[in-house]
């Protein structure tokens, strides 16, 4: 296993009496991409905000535990927050250019940390914009307002601005959720390139993105740490049922369904027979979606299908009475 960059120990966060993070202990490896996955409102962003202490900006919040970065506890009163934040770059959900020119946006960080020489600043700005692939696009209009850039360019500018502070860690809070697919891809590629020099922590509810990027995965659900481990292990062979359900649920929700059969009102074993018939009509590898309302069918149909060698991709409750079963015909 590689070195640990951030060590989180017994982290507890409470907002307005609402327990947002429950006793989280996890270690984030150095110079890898760690994805924090989980549904909305499960405490992913809160965890990031704890790392750079932006949680201080929130009202009515209490936190306890330890977050150790380079032998310093982020929550310790003696720790210099400015220094911690300098180590942790942040890429927010929505691009947030500062109200100044493109050049000044990137130079903002170095300037407040004491870089005064124009030459050094020029060099930093060019270097950081080049890393994010923005230099060629903006080199002729460095002095125009950052708000004039397209939203995808703005996000890359934000990344460049973060890099200019020379952080060790980059925190990304759903960095592509406001972007179009092409810009998202751009950002993802940049993150992959940056992996060799930086520790990257990315919060995402896009499981595909996590699969494309992550080396290490942390799965949170309702403030609890469900599972964590190397990406391959978690995605291929999750230990926890909840992780499996989450991965399947989100993964196959946009899967191409070849045939859909409504089996509501049929009781066992007729629904099973009808399902087999429907599957029989499909060619190999095609996907069949069944909707059933018999509680017995929810367990028995998938079990029977698996016994026949077909692959059950997901079983999901869609409303009070109905369940959705997605099956792929065996090859």
């Amino acid at each position: 296993m590689t070195e640990t960059q951030i060590s989180i120990q017994n982290l507890n966060v409470t907002y307005n009496g609402n327990h947002a993070l429950k006793n989280i202990s996890v270690e984030i490896p150095k110079k890898q991409i760690t994805a924090i996955i989980g549904p909305s409102g499960c405490g992913k962003s809160t965890m990031l905000k704890c790392m750079n202490r932006l949680i201080d900006m929130t009202d009515n919040v209490t936190f306890s535990g330890k977050i150790i970065i380079d032998n310093e506890d982020v929550f310790d009163k003696k720790t210099d927050i400015i220094n911690i934040r300098k180590k942790l770059g942040l890429l927010a959900q929505k691009p947030t250019p500062l109200p100044m020119s493109i050049y000044e946006n990137v130079a903002f960080g170095p300037r407040i940390h004491g870089v005064k020489k124009k030459l050094v600043l020029d060099e930093t700005v060019q270097k950081c914009l080049a890393i994010t692939g923005l230099w060629e696009e903006v080199k002729d209009r460095l002095n125009s307002p950052a708000s004039q850039l397209s939203i995808g360019q703005q996000q890359r500018l934000c990344l460049a601005r973060g890099l200019a502070v020379e952080p060790e860690i980059i925190l990304c809070d759903e960095p592509t959720s406001a972007l179009d697919p092409v810009s998202s891809q751009h950002i993802e590629q940049q993150l992959l390139k940056l992996r060799k020099d930086y520790t990257i922590v990315i919060v995402t509810h896009n499981i595909h993105q996590a699969m494309r990027l992550a080396d290490y995965v942390i799965h949170l659900y309702l403030g609890e740490l469900v599972e964590h481990g190397p990406a391959n292990d978690v995605f291929e062979n999750p230990k926890e049922e909840r992780t499996r359900a989450y991965i399947n649920g989100t993964m196959f929700s946009d899967l191409k369904i070849d045939k859909e059969v409504d089996l509501k009102g049929n009781i066992c074993p007729y629904n099973f027979v009808l399902a087999k018939q429907a599957l029989h009509e499909l060619s190999k590898g095609k996907v069949l979606k069944l909707v059933v309302d018999d509680p017995l069918a929810v367990t028995e149909v998938p079990r029977g299908m698996e016994a026949d060698g077909h692959k059950v991709m997901s079983v999901k409750q869609i409303n009070k009475t109905d369940w959705e079963v997605v099956i792929q015909k065996k090859e």
């Binding site: 900006m57 300098k86 927010a92 109200p99 934000c158 502070v165």
Partner: protein, 283 residues
């Protein structure tokens, strides 16, 4: 369905009516002043100070009042600016933490805003007497600053409140301190709005007569030091209108034209400045 359409047109009509009323009043006031003031306005009026007995129909102009008013309003606005910007920044959540003190500060400002300016004048007068100081430019500037602070502070605070939290978080995440964030990010984003606040307060300051009636005095000379008494346009207008002589009364309208022009020019300059800084603002 029909009822909703009628409702819609009634409210539209009401809106147009109030718009006509507001613009109409402005045009009417400006029209009357220009109509009566322009024929009397002469080059002498704006280049000469009052000669002895100006109010009795003798020669001279009101340069003393023009310069006096500019001194008073500019001084008051500058003084008020430094205090107001500090209060407005303090009232932000990161500094005051939304405590009871900030609530009390807001309440005080609102009460001060509603206080008639003659009360400021009387208060300033008592203080001047207490310290054995004569009515002077300094006295006028201080009272005007007091008058302007509530207006400026509340306007600035509203603007600062509008600055998105994301921007502050971004600055903090880059390692900026609270002060750097306030000055370099929040201040920049809010700049056009802050300028508008300053302009509002300046307009109120230059047009106010009651507060400087006792505190700034009146004289035919242009003040040389902060401790000299000074004339001002609002009081010049008041005194000229109060004379029984029609030719002096008419000059009051000419003075009002000058006051209008000053306010207009300052507005335009502020707007141009604000526009220049709006370029970088994040919407």
């Amino acid at each position: 369905m029909e009822f909703r359409r009628i409702e819609e047109s009634i409210f539209k009509a009401l809106m147009i009516l109030s718009l006509v009323f507001v613009i109409g009043s402005l045009l009417f006031v400006v029209g009357v002043i220009l109509w009566r003031g322009l024929p009397v306005l002469s080059f002498d009026m704006i280049t000469k100070t009052g000669e002895g007995g100006y109010l009795l129909g003798k020669g001279g102009g009101i340069l003393n009042a023009i310069v006096g008013s500019l001194y008073l309003a500019a001084g008051g606005t500058i003084l008020a600016f430094f205090l107001s910007i500090a209060i407005a920044f303090y009232l932000q959540k990161e500094y005051s933490g939304g405590t009871r003190l900030s609530g009390l500060t807001r309440l005080s400002l609102d009460i001060l805003w509603g206080t008639p300016s003659i009360v400021y004048g009387a208060f300033g007068y008592i203080v001047l007497i207490y310290f054995h100081i004569r009515a002077s430019l300094l006295g006028g500037i201080i009272v005007l600053a007091l008058l302007e602070i509530p207006i400026m502070t509340r306007a600035m605070e509203e603007v600062l409140k509008m600055v998105p939290g994301d921007l502050k978080e971004t600055a903090y995440s880059l390692g900026a301190t609270r002060f750097e964030t306030t000055l370099k990010v929040v201040g920049k984003q809010a700049l056009p709005g802050l300028l508008t606040g300053v302009l509002m307060a300046f307009g109120r300051g230059i047009g106010d007569a009651a507060s400087i009636l006792f505190t700034a005095g009146y004289t035919d000379r242009i003040p040389g030091t902060l401790f000299d008494a000074t004339a001002s346009l609002p009081i010049a207008i008041f005194s000229q209108l109060s004379t029984p002589l029609p030719q002096v009364q008419q000059k009051a309208y000419a003075s009002a034209v000058i006051l209008l022009v000053i306010v207009l020019v300052i507005s335009i300059i502020t707007r141009l400045l604000a526009k220049k800084y709006t370029r970088f603002i994040i919407k």
